[in-house]
């Protein structure tokens, strides 16, 4: 009996590296098929020495494929295991391989999108942005390094995991773990989004609701100012003590809303946009609409 052909760690690393370019030839016809075929080439070269087998393998990996680019890694791992068995004579046909790919890509994309695009990127992005807005270089560096370490680590270890457990991965993932990861990611995501809406969606209404005259004792007495540092200090002390600079105290509509809860308008706006999106209004239209509202708001002096 001929010696078993196995994929070495080096082969698997080559596949994993190429797998990063999965979406390069993304197309409306078969989506990620070209990138998938490109990624698996090192394995095909190793497993099938003869030309006909190589052609057959390349053709079967040019079939339709589309999932989230990172969670594609466990699918790749399983496919590598199956191709290896097949090259060693196991009766695995094209349908079985395509079936596993298609069977895994759907549910896994359902995990990848919320976990990476809607939990990790908003969180790391917001973290980075909060440093960056004050011009701190740490923000971009933190985002870039953390993201790529997590991403490549995830891709390599899940591919290895898929390769080791082979076809049993599909059962394993459907046994609750997948659902738990999705749910955990959604909970964390919703929590953080709630926080971000409060912190970073800014709407300020400027209309003045009421103007009340300040009590005489609460107004800083400017009459003592004679240009010397000492009198300036005296005024600043009064200001620090909470005295007002003006004769009247005005309350804006925003102050009233803030006393209900800060960010109330922001959350209302966000929920309204959620509803619009559900009604299939394009995000681009909404964005342009918000700018128009902003301009009108400034022109009419209410924002």
């Amino acid at each position: 009996m001929a010696e078993k052909i196995v994929l070495s760690k080096k082969d698997r690393m080559a596949v994993c590296w190429r797998h990063q370019f999965l979406q390069g030839s993304w197309n409306y016809e078969r989506m990620q098929n070209g990138g998938w075929c490109y990624s698996i080439i090192p394995a095909i070269k190793k497993l099938y020495p003869n030309k006909e087998d190589q052609i057959a393998a390349l053709k079967r990996h040019m079939e339709f494929y589309n999932t989230h680019p990172y969670v594609s890694s466990p699918v790749m791992g399983v496919t590598l295991a199956m191709e290896e068995e097949r090259a060693n004579g196991a009766p695995i046909d094209d349908v079985a391989i395509q079936g596993v790919k298609v069977g895994m890509m759907g549910p896994l994309a359902g995990v990848g999108d919320p976990a990476f695009w809607f939990t990790m990127r908003p969180i790391l992005g917001a973290l980075g942005a909060s440093f960056a807005m004050s011009g701190n270089i740490l923000g971009p560096i933190l985002f870039f390094v953390l993201w790529n370490v997590i991403r490549y680590g995830f891709m390599w270890y899940t591919q290895e995991f898929g390769y080791k457990v082979g076809t049993s991965i599909t059962q394993d993932l459907s046994g609750g773990l997948l659902g738990k990861i999705t749910q955990g990611a959604s909970i964390l995501g919703m929590f953080v989004i709630g926080a971000l809406v409060q912190r970073w969606v800014s709407i300020t209404l400027t209309p003045v609701v009421s103007t009340v005259a300040n009590d005489e004792v609460n107004i800083i007495d400017f009459s003592t100012f004679d240009g010397s540092g000492e009198s300036l200090r005296d005024i600043l002390v009064q200001y620090d003590g909470g005295k007002s600079l003006y004769d009247t105290r005005s309350t804006t509509l925003q102050d009233n809303l803030n006393s209900l809860t800060p960010g109330l308008l922001a959350v209302c706006l966000t929920l309204f946009i959620c509803w619009l999106l559900k009604k299939n209004v394009s995000p681009i239209v909404i964005i342009i609409g918000l700018f128009i509202v902003g301009i009108i708001g400034v022109l009419c002096n209410f924002m």
């Binding site: 990063q20 370019f21 979406q23 390069g24 030839s25 197309n27 409306y28 075929c37 490109y38 080439i41 070269k45 052609i55 390349l58 053709k59 040019m62 680019p69 695009w117 990127r121 908003p122 992005g125 917001a126 973290l127 980075g128 942005a129 909060s130 440093f131 960056a132 807005m133 011009g135 923000g139 971009p140 985002f143 870039f144 790529n148 991403r151 959604s186 909970i187 964390l188 995501g189 919703m190 929590f191 953080v192 709630g194 809406v197 409060q198 800014s202 300020t204 809860t261 960010g263 929920l271 946009i273 959620c274 999106l277 995000p283 681009i284 918000l290 700018f291 301009i295 708001g297 924002m303």
Partner: protein, 269 residues
């Protein structure tokens, strides 16, 4: 701008364009792209500040299924170049940054159309790859994969290069010609635009079970002392607690009547 700066900007733009489709290294995210353009053009601090502001707007922009999100790559690269041109033309940095943010939005729409064109052009490319598979030619598949990626890079690099050759006084004049109501309105609108990204995320994840966590996040965030890292820790803890309780709650329910000692005592009376 001298020729080396332009060249470096075009390289950054090329990387951003590649990443706009690959979505791996994140060169297309404003946080990375604007910082790099700021770095190569000598306006690092302003670049980082623009990066932070744009990133907040783009937090929820992601391509999911059939939904097409605004294109972060062209938005971040082009608005960073406009910012650099404005700064070179000696416009005050604050107003340049806020107008650059405003122009980013129409640019992200333009980028979207370019992406769609590239994704259509990729169809004949995979047909050539099919031909390669037919003949067992690994080289054909590999080369056309690289060509497809390069096409996506060029999608951003070409507009970036063109933009670099617009004289900076033209950009400055355009920026200064903008009336105050327009730029102020854009700033106000920009403050609200972040909500669109968040709404996209919410629609993706919201279920009956997760809405309470949104409410918690919203109210807890009013405590200004909590940093984002702190909020993240609370979020992770809540998720873990919820999952654990849900699991034990499910098993306790099936373990029937002994699960509630107080109830048993009361029943005995």
């Amino acid at each position: 701008m001298n020729i080396i700066t332009v060249l470096l900007i075009v390289i950054v733009a090329f990387l951003a364009g590649m990443e706009g489709i690959l979505d791996e290294f994140q060169f297309h995210q404003p946080l990375v792209a604007c910082t790099l353009i700021g770095l190569v053009s000598g306006h690092l601090t302003e670049g980082i500040m623009l990066a932070g502001n744009l990133q907040l707007m783009a937090l929820g922009w992601a391509n999911v299924g059939a939904a097409v999100a605004p294109d972060a790559a062209l938005a971040s690269v082009a608005s960073a170049i406009i910012m650099v041109l404005g700064l070179d033309g000696a416009t005050a940095s604050e107003s340049v940054i806020s107008t650059s943010i405003a122009v980013a939005v129409p640019l992200s729409v333009a980028g979207l159309f370019l992406t769609m064109i590239c994704r259509t052009l990729a169809i004949p490319i995979v047909h050539i790859m099919d031909g390669g598979a037919e003949k067992g030619s690994f080289k054909t598949i590999e080369i056309w994969q690289y060509i497809a990626i390069a096409m996506q890079g060029a999608r951003i690099a070409i507009p970036a290069a063109i933009l670099c050759f617009v004289p900076s006084d033209v950009v400055t004049a355009a920026l200064q010609a903008m009336p105050a109501w327009l730029s102020d309105g854009m700033t106000v609108g920009g403050g609200m635009v972040a909500a669109v990204g968040y709404a996209m995320v919410i629609n993706m994840m919201a279920t009956k079970e997760t809405w309470p966590f949104f409410a918690l996040g919203f109210t807890v965030a009013c405590i200004q002392e909590l940093t984002l890292i702190g909020l993240g820790v609370i979020g992770v803890a809540l998720a873990l607690i919820y999952l654990t309780l849900k699991e034990s709650g499910g098993s306790a329910g099936s373990a029937s009547n002994t699960g509630d000692p107080l109830g048993d005592i009361l029943n005995d009376y």
